[in-house]
Symmetry: C2
Subunit: 138 residues, 2 copies
Amino acid sequence: MARSNYNTKQKDLLSSYLKETGGKHFTVEDVCKHFASKSCEIGVATVYRYLEKMIGEGVVSKYIIDEHSAACFQYLDEKVCDRKHEHFHLKCEKCGELIHLESKALSSVQNKIETQYGFSLDPKRTVLYGLCSACNEK
Amino acid sequence: MARSNYNTKQKDLLSSYLKETGGKHFTVEDVCKHFASKSCEIGVATVYRYLEKMIGEGVVSKYIIDEHSAACFQYLDEKVCDRKHEHFHLKCEKCGELIHLESKALSSVQNKIETQYGFSLDPKRTVLYGLCSACNEK
DNA sequence: CTCATTGCAAAATATTTGCATAGTT
DNA sequence: AACTATGCAAATATTTTGCAATGAG
Protein backbone atom coordinates (compact mmCIF):
# COMPACT_ATOMS: atom_id res chain seq x y z
CA MET A 1 0.00 0.00 0.00
CA ALA A 2 2.99 2.23 0.61
CA ARG A 3 3.45 4.03 -2.66
CA SER A 4 6.98 4.23 -3.77
CA ASN A 5 8.42 7.66 -3.99
CA TYR A 6 11.29 8.30 -6.31
CA ASN A 7 13.62 11.15 -5.57
CA THR A 8 13.70 13.59 -8.41
CA LYS A 9 15.28 16.91 -9.03
CA GLN A 10 11.85 18.50 -9.24
CA LYS A 11 10.84 17.27 -5.82
CA ASP A 12 14.04 18.58 -4.29
CA LEU A 13 13.57 21.95 -5.89
CA LEU A 14 9.95 22.16 -4.84
CA SER A 15 10.79 21.09 -1.33
CA SER A 16 13.41 23.82 -1.06
CA TYR A 17 10.96 26.31 -2.43
CA LEU A 18 8.44 25.42 0.25
CA LYS A 19 10.95 26.06 2.97
CA GLU A 20 11.97 29.32 1.37
CA THR A 21 8.42 30.60 1.58
CA GLY A 22 8.67 30.51 5.35
CA GLY A 23 4.95 29.96 5.57
CA LYS A 24 3.92 32.77 3.26
CA HIS A 25 1.20 32.29 0.71
CA PHE A 26 2.09 31.41 -2.82
CA THR A 27 0.30 30.40 -5.95
CA VAL A 28 1.19 27.84 -8.54
CA GLU A 29 2.11 30.71 -10.81
CA ASP A 30 4.54 32.01 -8.19
CA VAL A 31 6.25 28.68 -8.12
CA CYS A 32 6.51 28.45 -11.89
CA LYS A 33 7.87 31.97 -12.23
CA HIS A 34 10.38 31.36 -9.50
CA PHE A 35 11.87 28.44 -11.35
CA ALA A 36 11.53 30.00 -14.77
CA SER A 37 13.73 32.85 -13.60
CA LYS A 38 16.31 30.32 -12.48
CA SER A 39 16.07 28.65 -15.85
CA CYS A 40 15.10 25.34 -14.34
CA GLU A 41 11.50 25.20 -15.37
CA ILE A 42 9.05 22.84 -13.79
CA GLY A 43 5.77 22.03 -15.50
CA VAL A 44 2.56 23.32 -13.97
CA ALA A 45 1.18 19.83 -13.81
CA THR A 46 4.12 18.75 -11.72
CA VAL A 47 3.65 21.63 -9.35
CA TYR A 48 -0.02 20.85 -8.92
CA ARG A 49 0.70 17.19 -8.43
CA TYR A 50 3.41 17.87 -5.90
CA LEU A 51 1.30 20.28 -3.89
CA GLU A 52 -1.61 17.90 -3.95
CA LYS A 53 0.58 15.21 -2.46
CA MET A 54 1.91 17.58 0.18
CA ILE A 55 -1.62 18.51 1.11
CA GLY A 56 -2.33 14.83 1.57
CA GLU A 57 0.60 14.67 3.95
CA GLY A 58 -0.65 17.67 5.86
CA VAL A 59 2.44 19.70 5.03
CA VAL A 60 0.70 22.17 2.77
CA SER A 61 -2.64 23.88 3.01
CA LYS A 62 -4.68 25.19 0.16
CA TYR A 63 -6.86 28.21 0.56
CA ILE A 64 -9.25 29.95 -1.70
CA ILE A 65 -9.12 33.59 -0.87
CA ASP A 66 -10.88 34.88 -3.92
CA GLU A 67 -12.97 32.62 -6.06
CA HIS A 68 -11.88 34.48 -9.15
CA SER A 69 -8.20 34.01 -8.70
CA ALA A 70 -5.88 31.10 -8.30
CA ALA A 71 -5.69 29.15 -5.09
CA CYS A 72 -3.14 30.06 -2.46
CA PHE A 73 -0.93 27.45 -0.94
CA GLN A 74 0.94 27.61 2.29
CA TYR A 75 3.71 25.55 3.72
CA LEU A 76 2.93 24.50 7.24
CA ASP A 77 6.00 23.96 9.27
CA GLU A 78 6.13 24.14 13.02
CA LYS A 79 7.09 27.78 13.06
CA VAL A 80 4.03 28.70 11.10
CA CYS A 81 1.59 26.19 12.28
CA ASP A 82 1.87 23.65 15.00
CA ARG A 83 0.40 20.60 13.46
CA LYS A 84 0.78 18.62 16.63
CA HIS A 85 -2.10 20.33 18.34
CA GLU A 86 -5.47 20.34 16.75
CA HIS A 87 -6.75 23.74 15.98
CA PHE A 88 -9.00 25.52 13.59
CA HIS A 89 -8.05 28.33 11.29
CA LEU A 90 -9.59 31.69 10.77
CA LYS A 91 -8.82 33.05 7.37
CA CYS A 92 -9.39 36.61 6.28
CA GLU A 93 -11.10 36.69 2.92
CA LYS A 94 -9.56 40.00 2.09
CA CYS A 95 -5.92 40.02 3.14
CA GLY A 96 -5.50 36.30 3.55
CA GLU A 97 -4.26 36.49 7.09
CA LEU A 98 -4.36 33.19 8.85
CA ILE A 99 -5.24 33.07 12.51
CA HIS A 100 -4.96 30.04 14.70
CA LEU A 101 -7.84 29.19 16.91
CA GLU A 102 -7.35 26.68 19.68
CA SER A 103 -9.72 23.85 19.11
CA LYS A 104 -11.28 24.32 22.54
CA ALA A 105 -12.56 27.68 21.37
CA LEU A 106 -15.04 25.70 19.34
CA SER A 107 -15.53 22.81 21.72
CA SER A 108 -19.02 23.83 22.80
CA VAL A 109 -20.13 24.03 19.21
CA GLN A 110 -18.27 20.88 18.41
CA ASN A 111 -20.23 19.04 21.06
CA LYS A 112 -23.49 20.55 19.99
CA ILE A 113 -22.96 19.54 16.40
CA GLU A 114 -21.86 16.11 17.47
CA THR A 115 -24.94 15.39 19.53
CA GLN A 116 -27.40 17.19 17.32
CA TYR A 117 -26.23 15.97 13.94
CA GLY A 118 -23.88 13.12 14.78
CA PHE A 119 -21.35 15.13 12.83
CA SER A 120 -17.76 15.20 14.04
CA LEU A 121 -15.74 18.20 13.01
CA ASP A 122 -12.31 17.88 11.48
CA PRO A 123 -10.22 20.87 12.57
CA LYS A 124 -7.50 20.07 10.06
CA ARG A 125 -9.76 20.75 7.19
CA THR A 126 -12.02 23.39 8.61
CA VAL A 127 -11.29 26.99 7.86
CA LEU A 128 -13.60 29.66 9.17
CA TYR A 129 -13.75 32.55 6.75
CA GLY A 130 -14.49 36.14 7.45
CA LEU A 131 -12.82 39.49 7.89
CA CYS A 132 -9.96 40.13 10.25
CA SER A 133 -9.94 43.13 12.55
CA ALA A 134 -7.71 45.18 10.27
CA CYS A 135 -9.89 44.60 7.23
CA ASN A 136 -13.04 45.16 9.25
CA GLU A 137 -11.89 48.65 10.08
CA LYS A 138 -11.44 49.63 6.47
CA MET B 1 -27.83 56.73 -12.32
CA ALA B 2 -30.87 54.52 -11.94
CA ARG B 3 -30.49 51.97 -14.67
CA SER B 4 -33.64 51.21 -16.47
CA ASN B 5 -34.97 47.76 -16.09
CA TYR B 6 -37.02 46.38 -18.89
CA ASN B 7 -39.51 43.67 -18.15
CA THR B 8 -38.73 40.61 -20.14
CA LYS B 9 -40.03 37.11 -20.33
CA GLN B 10 -36.72 35.77 -19.06
CA LYS B 11 -36.81 37.90 -15.96
CA ASP B 12 -40.33 36.79 -15.20
CA LEU B 13 -39.39 33.17 -15.63
CA LEU B 14 -36.28 33.51 -13.51
CA SER B 15 -38.18 35.37 -10.84
CA SER B 16 -40.77 32.60 -10.68
CA TYR B 17 -38.05 30.03 -10.54
CA LEU B 18 -36.48 31.75 -7.56
CA LYS B 19 -39.76 31.63 -5.69
CA GLU B 20 -40.23 27.99 -6.62
CA THR B 21 -36.95 27.07 -5.02
CA GLY B 22 -38.43 28.05 -1.68
CA GLY B 23 -34.97 28.92 -0.46
CA LYS B 24 -33.24 25.72 -1.47
CA HIS B 25 -29.81 25.78 -3.06
CA PHE B 26 -29.52 25.68 -6.79
CA THR B 27 -26.83 26.02 -9.38
CA VAL B 28 -26.85 27.80 -12.69
CA GLU B 29 -27.02 24.41 -14.31
CA ASP B 30 -30.16 23.59 -12.34
CA VAL B 31 -31.79 26.70 -13.67
CA CYS B 32 -30.84 25.96 -17.24
CA LYS B 33 -32.02 22.37 -17.06
CA HIS B 34 -35.27 23.44 -15.50
CA PHE B 35 -36.08 25.67 -18.41
CA ALA B 36 -34.66 23.35 -21.03
CA SER B 37 -37.14 20.72 -19.90
CA LYS B 38 -39.93 23.21 -20.32
CA SER B 39 -38.64 24.03 -23.77
CA CYS B 40 -38.21 27.66 -22.91
CA GLU B 41 -34.47 27.83 -22.82
CA ILE B 42 -32.61 30.68 -21.22
CA GLY B 43 -28.96 31.29 -22.00
CA VAL B 44 -26.41 30.68 -19.27
CA ALA B 45 -25.12 34.21 -19.62
CA THR B 46 -28.57 35.53 -18.90
CA VAL B 47 -28.87 33.39 -15.81
CA TYR B 48 -25.51 34.53 -14.52
CA ARG B 49 -26.34 38.15 -15.27
CA TYR B 50 -29.70 37.90 -13.59
CA LEU B 51 -28.34 36.22 -10.47
CA GLU B 52 -25.54 38.71 -10.24
CA LYS B 53 -28.06 41.50 -10.28
CA MET B 54 -30.19 39.79 -7.64
CA ILE B 55 -27.13 39.40 -5.45
CA GLY B 56 -26.57 43.12 -5.80
CA GLU B 57 -30.11 43.65 -4.60
CA GLY B 58 -29.57 41.33 -1.66
CA VAL B 59 -32.25 38.94 -2.83
CA VAL B 60 -29.93 36.11 -3.67
CA SER B 61 -26.87 34.71 -1.92
CA LYS B 62 -24.02 32.89 -3.51
CA TYR B 63 -22.21 30.14 -1.68
CA ILE B 64 -18.99 28.47 -2.60
CA ILE B 65 -19.13 25.12 -0.99
CA ASP B 66 -16.70 23.20 -3.09
CA GLU B 67 -14.08 24.87 -5.17
CA HIS B 68 -14.34 22.20 -7.79
CA SER B 69 -17.99 22.56 -8.50
CA ALA B 70 -20.27 25.33 -9.51
CA ALA B 71 -21.42 27.94 -7.06
CA CYS B 72 -24.65 27.48 -5.17
CA PHE B 73 -27.24 30.18 -5.13
CA GLN B 74 -30.07 30.72 -2.75
CA TYR B 75 -33.13 32.88 -2.89
CA LEU B 76 -33.49 34.96 0.26
CA ASP B 77 -36.96 36.05 1.05
CA GLU B 78 -38.58 35.96 4.46
CA LYS B 79 -41.99 35.70 2.89
CA VAL B 80 -41.02 32.43 1.34
CA CYS B 81 -39.33 30.99 4.37
CA ASP B 82 -38.43 32.86 7.49
CA ARG B 83 -35.36 30.90 8.45
CA LYS B 84 -33.72 31.72 5.21
CA HIS B 85 -31.11 33.99 6.61
CA GLU B 86 -27.47 33.24 6.62
CA HIS B 87 -26.37 29.84 7.64
CA PHE B 88 -23.24 27.76 7.82
CA HIS B 89 -22.63 24.45 6.17
CA LEU B 90 -21.37 21.16 7.41
CA LYS B 91 -19.82 19.02 4.75
CA CYS B 92 -18.91 15.37 5.10
CA GLU B 93 -15.39 14.72 3.85
CA LYS B 94 -16.29 11.20 2.91
CA CYS B 95 -19.69 11.16 1.28
CA GLY B 96 -19.94 14.84 0.52
CA GLU B 97 -23.27 15.29 2.24
CA LEU B 98 -24.11 18.89 2.90
CA ILE B 99 -25.91 19.87 6.07
CA HIS B 100 -27.32 23.27 6.82
CA LEU B 101 -26.53 24.73 10.17
CA GLU B 102 -28.57 27.65 11.34
CA SER B 103 -26.18 30.49 11.97
CA LYS B 104 -27.32 30.86 15.56
CA ALA B 105 -25.85 27.43 16.26
CA LEU B 106 -22.52 29.16 16.03
CA SER B 107 -23.52 32.49 17.49
CA SER B 108 -21.73 32.00 20.79
CA VAL B 109 -18.53 31.17 19.01
CA GLN B 110 -19.14 33.92 16.53
CA ASN B 111 -19.31 36.42 19.38
CA LYS B 112 -16.27 35.01 21.09
CA ILE B 113 -14.21 35.21 17.93
CA GLU B 114 -15.49 38.69 17.26
CA THR B 115 -14.52 40.07 20.64
CA GLN B 116 -11.34 38.09 21.05
CA TYR B 117 -9.90 38.50 17.58
CA GLY B 118 -12.01 41.23 16.02
CA PHE B 119 -12.74 38.68 13.37
CA SER B 120 -16.21 38.53 11.88
CA LEU B 121 -17.24 35.22 10.41
CA ASP B 122 -18.70 34.96 6.95
CA PRO B 123 -21.23 32.14 6.82
CA LYS B 124 -21.33 32.30 3.05
CA ARG B 125 -17.77 31.12 2.77
CA THR B 126 -17.45 28.99 5.84
CA VAL B 127 -17.80 25.27 5.56
CA LEU B 128 -17.14 23.08 8.55
CA TYR B 129 -15.65 19.77 7.50
CA GLY B 130 -15.89 16.47 9.23
CA LEU B 131 -17.71 13.17 9.14
CA CYS B 132 -21.47 12.84 9.04
CA SER B 133 -23.29 10.40 11.29
CA ALA B 134 -23.60 7.76 8.59
CA CYS B 135 -19.91 7.85 7.74
CA ASN B 136 -18.96 7.94 11.41
CA GLU B 137 -20.68 4.62 11.97
CA LYS B 138 -18.73 2.87 9.25
C1' DC C 1 14.12 -3.68 -16.60
C1' DT C 2 10.20 -1.85 -14.25
C1' DC C 3 7.54 1.47 -12.90
C1' DA C 4 7.06 6.20 -11.07
C1' DT C 5 7.48 10.86 -12.59
C1' DT C 6 7.62 14.44 -15.74
C1' DG C 7 6.11 17.80 -19.32
C1' DC C 8 3.38 18.94 -22.83
C1' DA C 9 -0.77 19.89 -24.79
C1' DA C 10 -5.48 18.98 -24.76
C1' DA C 11 -9.47 18.61 -21.90
C1' DA C 12 -12.49 19.88 -18.44
C1' DT C 13 -14.97 23.35 -15.82
C1' DA C 14 -17.05 27.61 -14.52
C1' DT C 15 -17.85 32.06 -15.48
C1' DT C 16 -17.41 36.32 -18.30
C1' DT C 17 -17.58 39.09 -22.35
C1' DG C 18 -18.16 40.94 -27.27
C1' DC C 19 -21.40 41.54 -30.46
C1' DA C 20 -25.30 41.22 -33.44
C1' DT C 21 -30.15 40.64 -32.86
C1' DA C 22 -34.49 40.96 -30.58
C1' DG C 23 -37.43 43.19 -27.36
C1' DT C 24 -39.20 47.05 -24.33
C1' DT C 25 -40.60 51.58 -23.48
C1' DA D 1 -36.25 55.73 -32.10
C1' DA D 2 -33.35 54.88 -28.21
C1' DC D 3 -31.56 51.87 -25.56
C1' DT D 4 -31.64 47.55 -22.75
C1' DA D 5 -31.61 42.56 -22.61
C1' DT D 6 -30.69 38.31 -24.71
C1' DG D 7 -28.21 34.36 -26.75
C1' DC D 8 -24.55 32.60 -28.84
C1' DA D 9 -19.98 31.59 -29.19
C1' DA D 10 -15.51 32.79 -28.09
C1' DA D 11 -12.59 34.15 -24.49
C1' DT D 12 -10.68 33.63 -19.73
C1' DA D 13 -8.58 31.30 -16.29
C1' DT D 14 -7.51 27.56 -13.34
C1' DT D 15 -6.78 22.96 -12.66
C1' DT D 16 -6.79 18.10 -14.34
C1' DT D 17 -5.63 14.36 -17.37
C1' DG D 18 -3.83 11.29 -21.22
C1' DC D 19 0.18 9.91 -23.02
C1' DA D 20 4.79 9.41 -24.66
C1' DA D 21 9.33 10.21 -23.04
C1' DT D 22 12.48 10.38 -19.24
C1' DG D 23 14.61 9.11 -14.94
C1' DA D 24 15.13 6.43 -10.53
C1' DG D 25 15.89 2.23 -8.24
